[in-house]
Amino acid sequence: MFLPTPPSYRHLMAASAIIVGAALPARAELFDNLEFSGIFETHTALAFKGTELQTSQFSLTPELSFDISPTMRFTLIGRLRGDLKDRLEPGAPSNFSRTTFNDRLFLGDQLDAEIREAYIDTEIGSSYLRLGKQQIVWGQADGLKVLDILNPQSFREFILPEFEDSRIPLWSVNAEIPIGELTLQLVWIPDTTYDDIPDQGSTFAFTSPLMVPQAPVGVPITFARTNKPSKVISDSDVGVKLSAFLDGWDLSLNYAYHYFDRPVVRRFITGEGVAIHQDYMRSHLIGGTFSNVFGDFTLRGELGYATNRYFQTDDIGDLDGVVRSNDFSYVLGLDYSGITDWFLSAQVFQSFLSNHEPDMIRGSVDTSITFLARRNFMNEALTAEALLIQSLSDGDGLLQLAVTYEWKSNVRLKAGADIFYGKKRGLFGQFREADRLTAGIEVAF
């Protein structure tokens, strides 16, 4: 656990300068088609409990892009974010999961700045190459992740924000190579940044025994150590995706050899109490996706088989409090757009463990379903949406309601509610006291 130091930013700047400079040699095209745009957004959440503000934040996301050469384009997206309440990541967050060149710059407790994305798009023959900090997204599921594991995620507001904003872009090499009718994607991610997990005391800090080990009341917990991989080459992630559009089916085969982005939280019972060790573990993930349209219905699915996953157990006799298992999971979704201005979607998620022990917190089969209903009004100027995520295994869930109104071309007004329910031990139930109303303005420029 350390705070980022200014020199890391100097490295970053230097790296950017080198990338840009390499392409510089007196090119007349440089800065051709320069585009600058951005979004300014406010986001206020009023917690039901105590009717106090959970967050009152703004974010400024400027985007700059220009051509370095006719076949090379540079894009830079930054983000400056301020939170007047500072309850999501109180004080200076530990931030240990980030690498030095993928860090956030904290300007006091309430402001943080980061480079969201910085990449060069280029083409080699008919292949696309994207080099730099970016998001690479796999999978067909909404709000549930089976294959979307390449980029880690920030859980500062759990899974409530859009993944676009909560996903942590990584410095990566991403090549998409057409091979006949197929497309081969090769991904190399030397950036060993992992999920941002809120520190204890934050509004959305994990408390569910599904995620963190529990200790009896009065037993002190110490965070003994965190082992975070940091070697650029040997600890890097790789991914391969082969995709095709065959006979109406969008298909993909995916394979990743990667560090799972959430650490394995082991608890060791010592004389002083409980010591927590956090380790990141490598996993093989093999899976695939499919989707096709049948009349008004779109069928989508993704499935994956992941090795070497760890799950919490209550077994006091277990040495480290986690059980290793392989995990087969899938999401099957059906979208219906047969009613004008309506979009209805349902998904089933199931996960099966290859190795299940009786005292494990979760069952051998975990089942969740989601329902999404979206209705557009006034030529899509107004959109109302309800998303329900229900765990069938634990009985808890999350209901998200949102209304977005496009007041002007570049101004959107948003309002919503996020309601968690179910038992406190559940994945969603753990936040049942964080229910909230939200409101925000988004101004694009």
Binding site: S37, Q135, V137, P178, F245, S291, M378
Partner: protein, 1055 residues
């Protein structure tokens, strides 16, 4: 002469058994057909005289669009003082008028030209400078003198902007909408009336004013004439019968006749043209003719059989009159059918057709309503019908005239011959001539203005020659410019052409300016680069749009405009072919072509058909009435006899025209066909009665004829009076051609009437033709009418096939399926890229915009389209990809990339009718662009419609099944397809319940890289009040769009 014909009498007996029913049915029919009349739509434009798909009209639209040329309204400021208009006062007046006129709603402020808006090109030591003539504004005489010198040094302005003597200058204002030109003319007139006069008058004229105002002028005039005609004819009826029934009943038939003609016109969506105004007057006269004959017979019968019941009287009268009335109706219809088939100009054709419809209606009502009314209402006996023969003063006078003619047959024939000779002589002197301006009274301000302006200036009538080259910037080439220069020189050498304007004039002026204003350099430079530089230099200090009327943006097309002070038919028939042959000769290479256009060329095109139309319709009418008469009397000689009064009337009219220099123009050219149709009646009635008298009476020929004049003659007289006075009403018109038309028809009708009553009995006496003196057997007679009718129908069809084929082929609507197939086959290029700005406007006017870039590419027959959102940032990166397969029944594949999800979503394409991303266009509309999924609809052509000034074909599409209708969201679609570009200019959609759903308006359609492309799509959703505007820019069909652009991986990359 009608012997007992049980069948017809049985019919009329049966009919009059139910008088009330017949009356009610008649009135209901009149009301039902009449109810269409309010739907009638007016097309009073002069372009209506030419078929809408005529290449000349289409080409003129093309030129008008390319160079933005509209018919202008011209304001002339005259100062007769020593300095002409070059005084501070006059120039200030010009500035003031320019400013106020520019502010008028229908005036295009960018297209107002006057001294106050024009620039001077002057040489400077380092090139040239373009300065406004009025910069600074001339406050002193010295300054005004300097402007005078500048204008005198600028040949282009001489005669076109300022008269060569300096006394007159023009403010030329182009109109946005020609349809409301008359209102703009009035506004300008009002404006100008308030302006101070400085040393001379201010005049308002111009083509825009003339064609716009003319329609209203004639229209308003006719509005007062038609009621007047009704009153006059009612008076005639009263004088003829002196009974209320005799006066009112024919008026009901008039109503029925007029309602039928205009009701059917409206129901079949035929426009009401300027000349249609005359139709009502004619129909009023014709409609009463049948009832005059029948009622006369009724009153005679009553006198003859005082004790008979009303029904008996009616049946007897009808039994006697049905035949002549039917025959005259048939012959009149034949005359009008001749006009219908012979004329090429749509207004005349339809005049003929609906006049025929009206005559048929008058016949039907005369045969049904009239006998029923006579039976139902108690008719007071007319005091005028007292004895066996009605010897009132009209009968007496006619007897005297007819008797005199019969007594001196040689004299009668000599007079006839003399008139015939005069007629032939006159015919050779008839002048075919037409000029729109002559349609106005000579004291009309517009007329005065036109004459004054065209006397001083080079002319306000424009003949355009549109030059087209094959390459961009070809018009920098001196060889092309010299060709244009030579064209100008040649055409200006024609005496009637006063001046011309082209881009060459500007080039020469600029060339001179950059060479220290030396006159020697008033020439075309030899170097194309220098030409390009001159334009560049101009744009440095002048407004580059200054040339938009002369040359297009790409310097590929140019327009040369010639000024003519007059544009009458005689002049045009002389010079237009002359210029055409020069152009055909000199501009006929692979790299440069030219075409004549402008209003002058269009007018020439339709004016040149006047004499053809006249001769063709005259011949056909004569032929038809001849056939009808031959069949009526079953004698070839009788047919010739019937024609004599008509031909005499025509010859007399030609004599009048020839000797009094009445032109054979648009209005007057119709008189012949009409006069034949009307005039033949007199001959038929007379011959029919003569035959009866010869058969039934005894004594000498003269004795037997004694009754002809007081009875038939009297009825014919009132028939003639109704017609003659009806047309006489036209002579009180304010519109000179209408006065002439009324006068000519009146003359013809009078001549026919008189000739019928005098020449025919005399010829019968002298020649003793067999048909008058032999009885036709009863069986033959019964077949007479049927044979007449069927022969006429056959003749009409045959003529339509033979004569009408060429002309009418254009009127046949194209097959809808073929048209849609052509629309779908329209070249879209193999690929295209373009920017698209979407504006989403809600019913309160609040607008949201989206900037996108779109690409399309054909992979063989599979069409792939991709659209990327660029702005605003909130939707930036959104991408939409479609694969549209040619196989019917195979759904498209569609993907949507939402940046917020960073995922490509497969989306269902079966809801083609859903709105595309908040727009008012459906996914289907977006995908098909301006094409149509032919397998989804069954198509029908409904007619023609003008959209944005373009003639389009109205194609209806009804989804082939309810399921398809639901998918599309449309229950019915109406396309307006412009067959010249095979693109729909406007589409209307109805929802599946038949409610109006939306209107898509494709605008700003022009060619890009040779492909017709719409640059603006406006969609109005009638249900929500929401509106979507699409504006396309940077359309590029040339640069290849890479195949990979249409792959999912590209969708993620955002463009």
């Amino acid at each position: 002469m009608i012997p007992h014909l049980p069948k017809t009498e049985a019919f009329f007996t049966w009919l009059t058994n139910w008088p009330k029913t017949v009356l009610i049915l008649s009135l209901l029919t009149i009301a039902a057909i009449g109810s269409f009349v309010p739907q009638i739509h007016k097309d009073t434009s002069s372009d209506a005289f030419i078929a809408k798909d005529d290449p000349v009209l289409i080409y003129r639209e093309h030129v008008r669009k390319t160079f933005g040329l509209e018919d202008p309204i011209v304001v002339a400021v005259i100062n007769n003082g020593e300095n002409g208009v070059f005084t501070p006062e006059s120039l200030s007046l010009v500035a003031e008028i320019t400013e106020t006129v520019s502010k008028l709603a229908n005036v295009d402020p960018d297209r107002v030209t006057s001294l106050a808006t024009e620039s001077n090109i002057v040489g400077t030591f380092d090139g040239m400078e373009v300065t406004d003539l009025f910069d600074p504004f001339p406050n002193t005489q010295a300054h005004a003198d300097r402007i005078k010198a500048a204008v005198e040094d600028f040949p282009l302005y001489q005669g076109s902007l300022v008269s060569r003597d300096g006394s007159t200058t023009l403010i030329v204002a182009e109109l946005i909408d020609q349809e409301i030109a008359k209102d703009t003319y009035r506004e300008i007139m009002k404006l100008v009336a308030d302006m101070p006069k400085v040393g001379g008058d201010i005049h308002v004229a111009g083509e825009g004013a003339i064609s716009g105002y003319l329609a209203t002028y004639i229209d308003n005039d006719a509005k007062t004439l038609n009621p007047l005609a009704g009153i006059v004819i009612t008076l005639v009826l009263f004088v003829a019968f002196r009974t209320i029934a005799g006066t009112l009943l024919p008026n009901v038939i008039v109503m029925g006749t007029v309602a039928a003609a205009f009701g059917f016109m409206a129901a079949f969506d035929i426009s009401f043209y300027v000349i249609t105004n005359g139709l009502a007057t004619i129909l009023i006269g014709i409609a009463v003719a049948d009832s005059i004959h029948i009622l006369s017979q009724v009153y005679e019968e009553r006198v003859r059989m005082p004790d008979a019941s009303r029904q008996e009287v009616a049946v007897r009268a009808m039994g006697k009159m049905w035949k002549p009335v039917t025959l005259t109706s048939i012959t009149t219809i034949a005359g009008f059918v001749g006009l219908w088939l012979g004329a090429e100009m749509p207004p005349m054709k339809y005049f003929g057709l609906f006049a025929a419809v009206g005559v048929a209606a008058a016949w039907v009502y005369s045969m049904t309503f009239l006998p029923a009314a006579i039976t139902y209402f108690k008719l007071k006996p007319s005091k005028l019908f007292t004895g066996a023969n009605t010897n009132d003063r009209y009968g007496e006078s006619l007897k005297r005239i007819g008797g005199a003619a019969l007594k001196s047959p040689k004299l009668t024939l000599a007079v006839t011959l003399l008139i015939a000779i005069l007629g032939v002589a006159g015919t050779s002197k008839v002048l075919v001539q037409e000029a729109q301006i002559e349609n106005f009274q000579i004291d009309e301000p517009l007329y005065i203005a036109d004459k004054a302006i065209n006397q001083r200036m080079d002319g306000t009538y424009f003949l355009d020659v549109a030059i087209e080259t094959t390459e961009v910037e070809a018009l920098y080439q001196p060889r092309h410019l010299k060709r244009i220069e030579a064209l100008q020189a040649y055409v200006e050498s024609i005496p009637a052409v006063q001046g011309s304007t082209s881009v060459v004039d500007y080039i020469k002026q600029m060339h001179k300016a950059v060479n220290e204003n030396q006159q020697a350099y008033y020439s075309i430079p030899d170097d194309p680069d220098l030409v390009a530089q001159l334009f560049f230099l101009y744009s440095a200090s002048g407004d580059p749009t200054d040339f938009e009327e002369e040359v297009d943006y790409d310097y590929q097309r140019a327009n040369v405009r010639f000024n003519l002070p007059t544009a009458d038919y005689q002049l045009l028939t002389k010079i237009v072919p002359q210029i055409q042959s020069y152009v055909d000769q000199e501009f006929n290479t692979n790299e440069i072509k030219a075409n004549l256009s402008g209003r002058v060329a269009v007018n020439h095109k339709w004016l040149k058909t006047i004499s053809d139309n006249h001769v063709k319709s005259l011949t056909l009418s004569l032929l038809f009435v001849f056939i009808a008469a031959v069949l009526v009397f079953r004698s070839f000689i009788a047919g010739l006899f019937s024609l004599i009064p008509v031909v005499m009337a025509l010859l007399l009219v030609y004599a009048v025209m020839g000797f009094s220099t009445i032109w054979l123009g648009v209005g007057t050219s119709m008189f012949a066909a009409i006069a034949i149709g009307l005039g033949i009646d007199f001959a038929i009635h007379t011959l029919d009665r003569m035959k009866e008298l010869i058969m039934t009476r005894t004594g000498s020929y003269d004795d037997r004829m004694a009754d002809l004049f007081p009875s038939t003659g009297r009825a014919l007289f009132f028939n003639f009076a109704a017609l003659g006075l009806g047309f006489a009403v036209l002579t009180t018109s304010e519109v000179p051609p209408l006065i002439r038309f009324g006068f000519l028809v009146m003359t013809a009708v009078s001549a026919s009437f008189l000739a019928g009553l005098t020449i025919l009995p005399v010829l019968g006496k002298v020649l003793r033709p067999a048909f008058l003196f032999t009885e036709v057997d009863a069986n033959n007679k019964r077949r007479l009418v049927g044979a007449t009718a069927s022969t006429l129908v056959a003749a009409t069809l045959a003529t339509w096939l033979l004569v009408g084929e060429g002309a009418d082929a254009d009127d046949v609507l194209p097959d809808a399926d073929a048209l849609i197939a052509s629309v779908n086959a329209r070249d879209e290029g193999q690929w295209v890229s373009r920017n698209l700005k979407m504006e989403l406007i809600d019913k309160r006017g609040k607008t949201r915009t989206r900037d996108t870039i779109g690409y399309r590419r054909y992979f063989d027959t599979e069409k792939r389209t991709v659209l990327f959102y660029l702005a605003p940032s909130s939707v930036k990166g959104t991408g939409f990809l479609t694969y549209d397969y040619p196989e019917a029944g195979r759904d498209d594949d569609q993907w949507l990339y939402l940046p917020a999800l960073r995922k490509i979503r497969r989306i269902s394409a079966s809801d083609r009718g859903d709105y595309f991303l908040g727009t008012d266009l459906s996914y289907e509309d977006i995908k098909k662009e301006s094409k149509v999924a032919a397998e989804d609809y069954s198509f029908n052509t409904l007619g023609a419609e003008t959209v944005d000034g373009f003639e389009t074909v109205l194609v209806e599409g009804v989804p082939v099944s309810d399921d398809i209708a639901k998918e599309l969201g449309y229950g019915r679609v109406l396309w307006r397809i412009d067959p010249t570009i095979m693109m729909s200019r406007k589409v209307e959609m109805w929802d599946i319940n038949g409610n109006p759903l939306k209107t898509i308006h494709n605008k700003d359609i022009h060619q890009v890289d040779g492909i017709w492309t719409t640059h603006s799509i406006m969609v109005e959703n009638h249900k929500t009040g929401h509106q979507t505007n699409f504006t396309f820019s940077d359309v590029d069909y040339k640069n290849e769009v890479a195949e990979k652009m249409f792959e999912q991986r590209s969708l993620k990359r955002g463009k």
